[in-house]
Symmetry: C2
Subunit: 368 residues, 2 copies
């Protein structure tokens, strides 16, 4: 071991990562997956217009560091101004910048739900903050528990995904807005709306972008089908959004991805088609679950979480059985949500492969 | 102004950015540039194999968070192991992670050359470090001045680009290795070799990747012609490289970019063709400079820095005259290097546009 003079914080950070990618699992298994249903990607892919735009963007040129055209289009889409919008390398990247802007040590408190999106927790740890967790309530993230804990610990940030990952549950935007009456002054709500495009009408939080209480995160990775492109954005008060420019990597954005996202946003007809296909796929996953004696949970996202009816150890055996049979899926990792497995929407062929593998996985799991 | 509880450091950071992009300048000018010769991009573009790979990568899937295939190919290319290689969203992104790993406040000292790559300085400021600058020596970054200052201030990091940007000068790898005898123990040399692919044989630092004294940065943005893709990598000791995984955005990499870089690396014949075209373009830029009474500096990079023969104010007027005539170029920003303008290599058409604009720009500059 050489003696690199890392920061005191860097020395204490673990080498663990939020997610092991399917490619790593394929290398360990020694074969490719038959169906890729674990990362909540969108197999139906982006708009043809986006694919064309990405091909024609000119790979030799740097992307616009201001993402001006894309930011302007996003602003118009949300009836606001570009100063209310920051574009980044996925919501993951934006969460990292946001945490960096607010959190610089253990004195800075943050609240999330136990079992919610782990990449947010990774960033909080990475900047030395103190993370407080509240439980889910009936498989929903609980605004009241979250905001009460935020008040108790004087949290700078509180994270909430709506719809939620990994459970697929959601709150109406109106209910969430009402619950925000209990959000402490000076606590910023980090509202991850990655899955809002597949949720029922009325799920998006109905606030003005000038509301300083909340920053909303969106992505082109889910309904827009461009996970590989790495384009996310945040909407919020200009003082908050403007602060990102002080710390972000100004040349982080892939130029083709900027052009693709711009074209994807303009093709709302395609988005409607794809969300219809996602709806149908959710129904089919639910049918498969029920036909095999399992209980699908209602989903507002591009995946269905299936209650396997026993404990976390059982669900883990079901998951392992699916993975060993070539079906990439993931599962919640905190009890009692970990009684479930989580199946991303897929093509008819993907879901047929899932259905073919499920009986064997269940039989193996029951043997234990 | 709302009262966001940013960190003490974030509150003090300026809103300035390292570079204003050409798209912003075009918006201000109200018209597109005729020639884009300011960002040291490579207009000859990537290998056709890379373009195909990017089109076929599957935009709906996340990139491999480990960049395993690309890292393995890079390791093989450099005769080392994947544990010695980290891939990131451009050298800019990797510099940000590196600074974050070492610098957490004003007690942490860093050394660079005054007028060298500003994005490194941006990251040092962004993590609160203390930046010390030494002057250039005869238009070269000076290893002896840099390392002496590093010893004086007990620097954690010292930054050196070889070849240098913005001057295009270089040291032989052997000379640099010899100079490293004066590098203080526990100071890590951050060696930016972004432009090494267009430099004379023998410019790359001849060290084993296990040498803990240095981390070398490379990119697909310059000779490989993929600036828009945002793919850089660093080579170094596994303990140093491994630390990046504790803080980096594991899902930052564009999937198509990963595939494109892999294909580009495999097409070394194309790289040779392109570097020959870059060489020819350098010669043409030098000829144009001389034909107009200016002095081109020798260049090991994909640009030529031209001594305008007077002071920084004069060179700035030449630059402004070129920009107003539709030619995007940049210039050094510290005296005495700012007597120059910097012209990226371009196509014959680009350089003809530059040559057509130059007399008017010079005439305007002489009027003052």
């Amino acid at each position: 071991m050489t003696d690199f003079r890392f920061t005191p914080l860097a020395k204490t950070l673990p080498a663990t990562v939020p997610f092991v990618g399917p490619e790593t699992q394929e290398r360990l298994l020694g074969q490719p997956f038959k169906a890729r249903l674990g990362a909540n990607e969108n197999v139906f892919g982006p708009s043809p217009a986006a694919i064309t735009a990405m091909a024609e963007a000119g790979h030799w040129m740097y992307g616009d560091p201001e993402s001006h055209a894309l930011r302007s289009a996003i602003a118009a889409h949300h009836d606001t101004t570009p100063d209310h919008v920051v574009v980044g390398e996925g919501i993951d990247g934006l969460l990292g910048y946001l945490v960096r802007l607010f959190i610089s040590g253990a004195q800075d408190n943050v609240v999330t739900s136990d079992g919610a999106y782990p990449t947010f927790n990774y960033h909080v740890a990475g900047f030395g903050g103190t993370l407080h967790k509240v439980p889910y309530a009936d498989d929903h993230e609980s605004p009241s528990l979250l905001f009460a804990k935020a008040a108790e610990v004087d949290a700078k940030l509180v994270y909430l995904a709506n719809p939620d990952n990994p459970m697929g549950s959601h709150h109406s935007g109106a209910d969430l807005l009402a619950a925000m009456d209990a959000l402490p002054a000076q606590t910023v709500l980090v509202l991850d709306e990655a899955y809002v495009d597949t949720a029922p009408e009325g799920t998006a939080l109905p606030v003005t972008p000038d509301d300083p209480r909340v920053i909303r995160m969106r992505t082109f990775s889910k309904a827009y089908g461009m996970a590989g492109a790495r384009v996310g954005y945040a909407i919020g008060h200009p003082d908050l959004i403007g602060s990102f420019h002080k710390v972000r990597n100004h040349f982080s954005m892939n130029r083709a991805a900027q052009a693709g996202a711009l074209a994807a946003l303009a093709d709302q007809a395609y988005l409607s088609e794809v969300t219809a296909r996602i709806n149908a796929s959710r129904d089919e996953i639910a049918r498969i679950a029920r036909d095999h004696g399992l209980s699908p949970l209602p989903s507002a996202a591009n995946f269905v979480t299936i209650d396997c009816g026993q404990d976390g150890a059982f669900a883990k055996r079901v998951l392992d059985g699916l993975v060993s049979r070539g079906i990439f899926v993931r599962m919640p990792f905190v009890a009692p949500q970990n009684r479930c497995i989580r199946i991303s929407c897929g093509t008819a062929q993907d879901l047929a492969a899932f259905e073919a593998a499920l009986p064997g996985a269940l039989a193996d799991a029951r043997v234990g």
